[in-house]
């Protein structure tokens, strides 16, 4: 599969203050390879450098060092050609306040050179896709946050981009709107086959949308992989919590398939297993066989947030988990 985005050794420092004496190294040698048709997530806390990285890849910002190729075009030498084939939507969207939804779309459609009939058809289709029909003539500054976000996504599809950059697409949205937006992104990507690079600090969003994920912290990529591979990599496992009465066979519990570790404190047993759903039944069976009475069972599955925290911890303590 051809690469849609290729970045090598990207560094970026921002300077502020009198004569720029305050330096902040925001990106420290980022390498990325994203295949065409992938949904790739860049995850990290606020200030990790996500937006800076996305801005560089979308040609809005030039790096201090490093190489960028988007769709095989040099991002540092030929940004204009790249801009023809990419687009961007960001959370906390801002557009011209007086222009209505359809006027904003027409304006940006014109910026991409769309002629009359083609532009009208495109704007109509996007308005319908994002359920903006009732807000056609509402000026931007009177739209709700969710509507602004829909408009931003609609705008980002005006030129049928081959690479779509999404910067925190669901930030500040209600959960129901966030889910709707994610569904839209997923189905549009599937339909058009475009490459999507999204930044987010929302682990669930990344997990539900992305084929692959990069963890970014303090300007460095900690690791890259599929959500499943990342979870496997840290071997954190899922946690089965069982409140019980009586005694259990600790030896049998430790020998059981998939059990990584366990601890018992008073009447609460926490069993760490490789796959919670798969091991829940056998673990409960061991409790019954030991003659213990089970009062309550809960299953805590590892999510990307746990994985990220684990990676960040490992990096902080210099354990060399940069993969």
């Amino acid at each position: 599969m051809a690469l849609a985005i290729q970045a090598e050794g990207i560094c970026k420092t921002f300077r502020s203050g009198w004569r720029g004496q305050n330096e902040k190294l925001v990106l420290k040698g980022i390498d990325l390879q994203i295949e065409q048709g992938e949904i790739f997530g860049v995850l990290g806390p606020n200030g990790a450098g996500k937006t800076t990285l996305l801005s560089i890849l979308s040609t809005l910002l030039l790096p201090d060092r490093g190489k960028v190729q988007i769709l095989g075009i040099d991002g540092l030498q030929d940004g204009h050609r790249i801009r023809e084939r990419v687009n961007m939507s960001s959370g906390n969207a801002n557009f011209l306040w007086s222009l209505t939804v359809q006027e904003n779309l027409h304006f940006y459609g014109m910026l991409y050179g769309l002629a009359g009939k083609k532009r009208k058809a495109k704007v109509r289709a996007l308005i319908s896709l994002f359920n903006l029909e009732e807000h056609l003539d509402v000026p931007f500054d009177r739209l709700s946050t969710g509507m602004k976000q829909r408009l931003s996504l609609a705008k980002s599809l005006l030129n049928d981009p081959e690479v779509l950059f999404l910067d925190e697409p669901s930030v500040g949205l209600d959960p129901s709107v966030s889910i709707w937006i994610r569904d839209q992104i997923r189905s549009i990507q599937k339909e058009k086959g475009m490459t999507v690079l999204l930044t987010t600090h929302n682990m669930r969003e990344a997990e539900s949308l992305c084929n692959r994920i990069a963890f970014l912290k303090a300007g460095e990529i900690l690791t890259t992989g599929t959500p499943e591979a990342l979870k496997r990599m840290v071997r954190m496992g899922d946690t089965i919590r069982i409140e019980f009465k009586g005694k259990i066979s600790e030896e049998e519990l430790l020998r059981a398939d998939g059990v990584i570790n366990f601890s018992i404190l008073d009447n609460l047993c926490e069993v760490i297993v490789d796959d919670g759903e798969k091991r829940l039944g056998p673990v409960i069976a061991i409790f019954y066989q030991s003659g213990a009475q089970i009062k309550k069972v809960s299953l805590g599955q590892t999510d990307l947030e746990d994985v990220f925290i684990e990676f960040a911890k490992e990096t902080d303590s210099d354990m060399g988990l940069r993969l």
Binding site: S98, G113, A115
Partner: protein, 267 residues
């Protein structure tokens, strides 16, 4: 360039006409910009010339100045608005992630500026005729067209300079949108010949094309030119400055991409 490519470029230019036109239409203050302030300014200066009992030519000298200033201010502000609207709405990055060239941005907004300032010119020239008996058509259509073209091009220069300053200094630069043209009018002899200015202002005035266009138009009302080759100097300097500013615009846009200005101004 293929015809479809040319069409695309023209549509991109038209985008900025469209944007400025709608923003103008929706903004009640734009009516003040193109009618209220120019008319109030014009009438107050015109009445002053009446009070001072100036002869027709001297009144004409001053009325040419005030009308030129109004036309230039309205036209240049439209060019400046092309980035100021993006600045105020924090949508700068959406403009610059699109495949548009700086000249399209400037040219599109300049077209709407020419349209709006031509309305100002029509209103003020009709008023000058009705209220003060001043005939703006006396030099003839040709010289008047050249004079107006000069004013419109100077407006493009001033508006571009504001855009350059916006990309350099962000929000701190929007004050330039109103001050540069006023300062230029002061130096270029809007109500007086530049010879009365203290040194080195006359020398500076000679480096500004507006000085030549004002003096050119005033020659049709009985005032001798202090300089020669007025139109040549006026258009020559304008062309030179346009080229310099086009280069500067490209350079500051590169700097803005390097320093992250486009991102900062969109947050």
């Amino acid at each position: 360039m293929s015809s479809s490519n040319l069409q695309k470029k023209l549509i991109q230019i038209w985008a900025f006409v469209y944007k400025n036109w709608i923003m103008t239409k929706r903004n009640v203050f734009s009516l003040f910009e193109i009618l209220f302030w120019p008319v109030v300014g014009f009438l107050s200066v015109g009445l002053l010339t009446d009070f001072l009992k100036l002869d027709a030519n001297m009144s004409g000298f001053i009325l040419i100045g005030i009308i030129s200033m109004s036309v230039t201010q309205v036209c240049q502000i439209d060019v400046a608005y092309v980035l100021l609207y993006d600045l105020w709405s924090k949508s700068m990055k959406h403009t610059f992630i699109a495949p548009v060239y700086p000249f399209q941005l400037i040219f599109g907004s300049w077209l709407i500026g020419v349209f709006r300032s031509f309305i100002v010119f029509l209103v003020l020239s009709i008023l000058s005729s009705l209220a003060f008996g001043f005939d703006f058509l006396r030099p003839g259509i040709g010289p008047l067209s050249l004079f107006l073209l000069g004013l419109f091009l100077i407006s493009a220069l001033v508006g571009m300079m504001v855009c350059i300053l916006v990309l350099l200094f962000g929000y701190k630069a929007d004050v330039a949108a109103w001050s540069i043209s006023s300062l230029m009018a002061l130096i270029c002899g809007i109500y007086y010949p530049i010879s009365i200015l203290p040194s080195p202002l006359p020398e500076i005035a000679r480096a500004i094309p507006l000085t030549y266009f004002l003096e050119y138009f005033r020659t049709f009302y009985g005032f001798d030119a202090e300089m020669k080759g007025l139109l040549g100097w006026g258009f020559g300097l304008t062309a030179a400055y346009l080229m310099i500013e086009a280069f500067l615009f490209k350079a500051v846009l590169y700097r803005a991409r390097k320093k992250g200005v486009l991102i900062k101004l969109s947050e």
